[in-house]
């Protein structure tokens, strides 16, 4: 009976979805609103209006700035929820690896990770700072920073990771993404224009573009550092190894 009900629900959902797909305009159609209005606007005026050579960065930070700020808030809320559920990580027991076996990662893995992590962080910095002109940006760079710290933690263990990136050093910067974004938004209000407006009145000539690109850069760096640290803190809060204290029979590595 239950299976029949599930099947019926799936069939109904499938019919609705297929009907919706049938109503969509054909692929590569040139008469849809996004082809006649949206794409030409972005391609022709995105660089001058958005203030970034990479039009996607201009769209993300300028045309849909509120949306991006909502996403940053979501990431920060995820960190708050994780910490509320799991508490901050403890730093007492010294064991390597995320699993309870107490076995150190092999020398090959450790050497490769030690060699690779600085290059990955360097690439992330390039991605954050160069996101204005090439694909990538703050969020991508932050995710790569988070991934590099996660790899390091999985191989060398939580104590080594928290020694390199202590909690005291992470906490002040975790909210920098949101605070930087809000600060740049309120600069517009201070100059008498709308929230998240980067083109400030009262400036002339090339100063407008310079100020705008600097503001976008502050937001990108904020999202990069803040996002990376939020990813790091979520994972470190999840892999905290305090429960190993309850298993004294595991031999020390």
């Amino acid at each position: 009976m239950r299976k029949i009900m599930v099947l019926a629900a799936l069939v109904v959902i499938g019919i609705v979805l297929l009907y919706a797909v049938g109503k969509m305009p054909p692929m590569n159609s040139r008469n849809t609103p996004d082809k006649t209005h949206v794409v030409p606007r972005y391609l022709n005026e995105g660089e001058s209006e958005g203030g970034a050579k990479n039009i996607i960065t201009g769209v993300i930070l300028n045309y849909r700035g509120y949306d991006t700020m909502g996403e940053v808030t979501v990431i920060f809320s995820a960190l708050c929820a994780t910490i509320a559920l799991l508490d901050r990580e403890k730093r007492k027991v010294s064991r390597s690896g995320v699993d309870a076996s107490g076995v150190r990662a092999s020398v090959i893995v450790r050497t490769v990770v030690r060699f690779l992590v600085p290059i990955v962080v360097f690439f992330a910095a390039y991605m954050i700072l160069h996101g204005e002109a090439t694909p990538g940006g703050g969020f991508q760079g932050g995710a790569i920073i988070g991934a590099s710290v996660i790899i390091f933690t999985l191989v060398f263990g939580l104590p080594e990771s928290t020694r390199r990136m202590p909690l005291k050093a992470r906490v002040p910067f975790e909210s920098i993404a949101m605070l930087g974004f809000l600060a740049m938004g309120f600069i517009g209000i201070a100059f008498g224009v709308n929230f998240l407006t980067y083109v400030l009145p009262g400036l002339h000539g090339s100063l407008v573009d310079t100020i705008r690109s600097q503001m976008l850069m502050v937001i990108e760096i904020g999202i990069g550092i803040g996002g990376g640290l939020v990813f790091t803190s979520i994972v470190l809060a999840m892999v905290r190894e305090d429960e190993y204290e309850l298993q004294p029979d595991i031999p020390q590595p």
Binding site: A100, A143, I144, A147, I150, F231, V235, M238, V239
Partner: protein, 80 residues
């Protein structure tokens, strides 16, 4: 030639998506899901969306996989 690559990627994408649901070993499912994200990242570059490809590779294949694996280590490995 490009459509052959795209077709192969799409076939593998569907296979990995089905495998991620069907496999009972959650650790294997997490790894298969990571492979799904990597294929999706290649497809994004084929669709000329490099920004999305970078995000998919970093978040989908990297961070999400680790979060899933850590969750499995802190709970149980086998699905009921």
């Amino acid at each position: 030639m490009n459509w052959v690559l795209n077709l192969l990627l799409l076939i593998f994408l569907v296979c990995t998506a089905a495998a991620a649901i069907l496999i009972k070993d959650l650790l294997a499912a997490a790894i298969v899901f990571s492979a799904y994200s990597l294929l999706m990242a290649i497809l994004w570059t084929q669709l000329r969306a490099p920004d999305l490809a970078i995000t998919e590779a970093a978040v989908g294949a990297g961070v999400t996989t680790v979060l899933l694996i850590v969750t499995i280590y802190r709970t149980v490995r086998k699905e009921e």
